[in-house]
């Protein structure tokens, strides 16, 4: 663990019990592997992009880090403390250092509270003795920071557009000056021009406040723009992790290659002649994942060994790790 590593996740596993409809009370629940054996580390001021298709465990990973879902095994080390071993009251001091931004900007704001109350809530929760004038000053300050007028304080969430709501969400996350913000698909509910505004705002704030970000998205071009490191997930498993530029230049896993080839290029002549790698079939069920390599059912390179042996997640150049038998 290097000196400015703030978050280290080791072999994190999350499973959910799933009961189907006709089950008797005494039948054993099936295990759904939502997140399987994920490890990574994050430095202060760095951005980790997490990509993968729907249902691959991106959001579960985010929720596991902030202890919103029960974790089966593994550890989440935040500044040297394993968060998973702490009880609720011991976790509280760390809650102000890790904040979260959500996918649906309007749904993440309480419709009965006005904007000032929403943004001030984390402050009032962790520092209940702050005098009211200080609270108001901090709220105004943080609202200015995210590009909102502080005279909108008395308005209610339904009076704002999606982009503004997301700014409010960001303001709420920033008011405690956290070290890490987990962004769970913060831009996927916004249209493209607003996406750019929000992403740029996050990048500016990151620089200004030395924030680390975990940025979850399924839009690769957005992730590339903001991330320093990118992790690709498939069916709860890590498939590839590398520096942002590296993963674009040399995607090593067949799944990553397919994902990157699917990113549209804003030039019709290049786009037309692009070599698009198509993946056949559907995502297998996470209740009953394929043996060996989880991707083998859809992989163009699949061989016998893929069904028998789970590929090791190994580093083949510095900072670039892949889980594939044929990565070299």
């Amino acid at each position: 663990m290097s000196s400015n590593t703030i978050l280290e996740v080791n072999n994190l596993k999350v499973t959910f019990d799933v009961r189907s409809e006709g089950d008797m009370p005494w039948t054993k629940a099936k295990k759904l592997q939502a997140v399987n054996d994920i490890s990574f580390s994050l430095n202060a001021g760095q951005t980790l992009g997490v990509v993968g298709e729907s249902g691959c465990g991106k959001s579960t990973l985010a929720r596991a880090i902030v202890k919103m879902v029960p974790v089966e095994s593994g550890e989440v080390v935040w500044l040297g403390n394993d968060l998973l071993g702490l009880n609720d009251s011991e976790t509280r001091p760390f809650r102000k250092q890790i904040q979260m931004i959500f996918q649906d900007p309007l749904a993440s704001l309480n419709p009965r509270m006005n904007i000032g109350e929403i943004i001030a809530e984390p402050l009032r929760t962790h520092y209940p003795k702050t005098p009211e004038s200080d609270v108001q000053a901090r709220v105004s300050d943080v609202m200015n920071k995210v590009g909102l007028l502080d005279n909108l304080k008395n308005r209610y969430p339904h009076e704002f557009s999606g982009g503004q709501c997301q700014r409010i969400g960001i303001a709420r996350a920033l008011i405690l000056k956290p070290k890490l913000i987990i962004c769970d698909e913060p831009v996927s509910a916004l249209d493209v021009s607003i996406q750019a505004q929000v992403v740029n705002l996050l990048m500016d704030l990151q620089e200004e406040m030395d924030l680390a970000l975990i940025f979850i998205a399924h839009d690769l071009s957005v992730v590339k723009h903001i991330s320093s490191k990118i992790m690709v997930l498939y069916l709860g498993n890590m498939v590839e992790i590398a520096e942002s530029d590296d993963i674009y230049k040399n995607p090593s896993h067949p799944y990553t290659q397919a994902l990157i080839s699917a990113v549209p290029i804003p030039d019709p002549s290049i786009e037309k002649n692009k070599n698009l790698i198509l993946i056949e079939g559907d995502l297998p069920s996470p209740i009953d994942p394929p043996s060996g390599c989880v991707f083998r059912t859809r992989c163009p390179k699949a061989q016998e060994i893929c069904a028998q042996k789970k590929p090791e997640f190994k580093e083949f150049t510095k900072g670039h790790s892949v889980a594939c038998h044929f990565s070299d």
């Binding site: 919103m68 200015n144 007028l149 740029n200």
Partner: protein, 308 residues
């Protein structure tokens, strides 16, 4: 880019700075409610009835327990509604002034209804929200308790309570309040389950807001719409229950009275040509219940965003 936006925003701000007051969902709802004519008129009538039950006594010539010996026994001939004798609504069979008695009955019936409903609302909301929010085993146990209480025949228990412990308003409250929160808690629990998975609740939990604060600040305010609607429908239900008990002769104790008790007396003497003894309390009763139901209806339309 942000710096540029900020300047633009500042210019706009100067033009907009006076319109900074927000329009809350409550204000929206009030506007929609006011647009509903039946509900607004009902609210007005109900307010007048409540006001009447407080101001009315100052105009009364007779108190509610005083017996007019002239009218006693000959209510059909002497006790009819008249301004000269001071019996504006006539007298009852014993010669007591019906005007004062109706006012008293109105006060007691409305008080039973409103207090009973508020007990039900407070207990039911907190119980249901806690059960729904905590979930799991706690929820299972809390809701099974409600199921068990619900399976008890409510009228039967109420009548038994009144017979065993004697007739009193207090006992009536306990009996009605004890059981009327059950429906409320179920409704609230269902809504809470719905709310619990909303992202703003998750946001509060991630921030580290305590469970108690989440229930009181995030869940309950978002439930109030449905609770308000249910409460206005609960009030007439409780008034009806009280009237029914009084009609059976088990409600409030003489000389105090309530709508149910007055209607019972009036109905008993209908064959002696004293129809005012039935009609005055009945009119108050029916009009008030209608008003409550119309208000409940208007509130539901105003507070339910899906109706928009």
């Amino acid at each position: 880019m942000i710096a540029l936006n900020k300047n633009k925003i500042k210019v706009m701000a100067e033009n907009l700075s006076d319109s900074s007051a927000g329009r809350s969902l409550w204000k929206d709802a009030r506007m929609r409610f006011m647009q509903n004519k039946a509900a607004t008129i009902s609210l007005f009538i109900l307010m007048s009835i409540v006001l009447f039950s407080f101001i009315g006594p100052y105009f009364a010539v007779w108190s509610y327990e005083q017996i007019d010996w002239n009218a006693m026994g000959s209510a059909a001939r002497v006790g009819m509604p008249s301004i000269e004798s001071g019996h504006f609504f006539g007298t009852d069979d014993l010669g007591r002034d019906l005007y004062s008695r109706v006012i008293q009955g109105t006060q007691i019936s409305l008080m039973v209804g409103v207090l009973g409903a508020s007990v039900a609302v407070i207990v039911g909301t907190l119980y249901g929200a806690t059960s729904g929010y905590l979930g799991g085993k706690t929820d299972q146990i809390m809701m099974r308790i409600v199921d068990i209480l619900m399976s008890i025949p409510y009228m039967f228990v109420l009548i038994l309570l009144l017979v065993v412990f004697g007739r009193s308003i207090g006992m009536l409250f306990i009996g009605i309040g004890l059981l009327s929160w059950l429906d409320m808690s179920r409704i609230v629990r269902g809504q809470t389950l719905n709310l619990k998975n909303k992202e703003f609740i998750e946001a509060a939990r991630v921030t580290g807001v305590s469970d108690f604060k989440i229930i009181t600040k995030h869940i309950v305010p978002n439930l109030l719409g449905i609770v308000a609607v249910y409460a206005t429908l609960l009030v007439p239900g409780i008034i009806l229950a009280e009237s029914f008990i009084s009609f059976l002769g088990l409600g409030v104790q003489e000389p105090s009275t309530s709508w149910g008790a007055l209607i019972k007396e009036g109905a008993g003497t209908i064959s002696y040509d004293t129809e005012w003894q039935l009609l005055f309390p009945l009119a108050f009763f029916v009009v008030s219940l209608f008003c409550f139901y119309f208000i409940g209806d208007g509130l539901r339309d105003a507070l339910d965003p899906k109706e928009r």
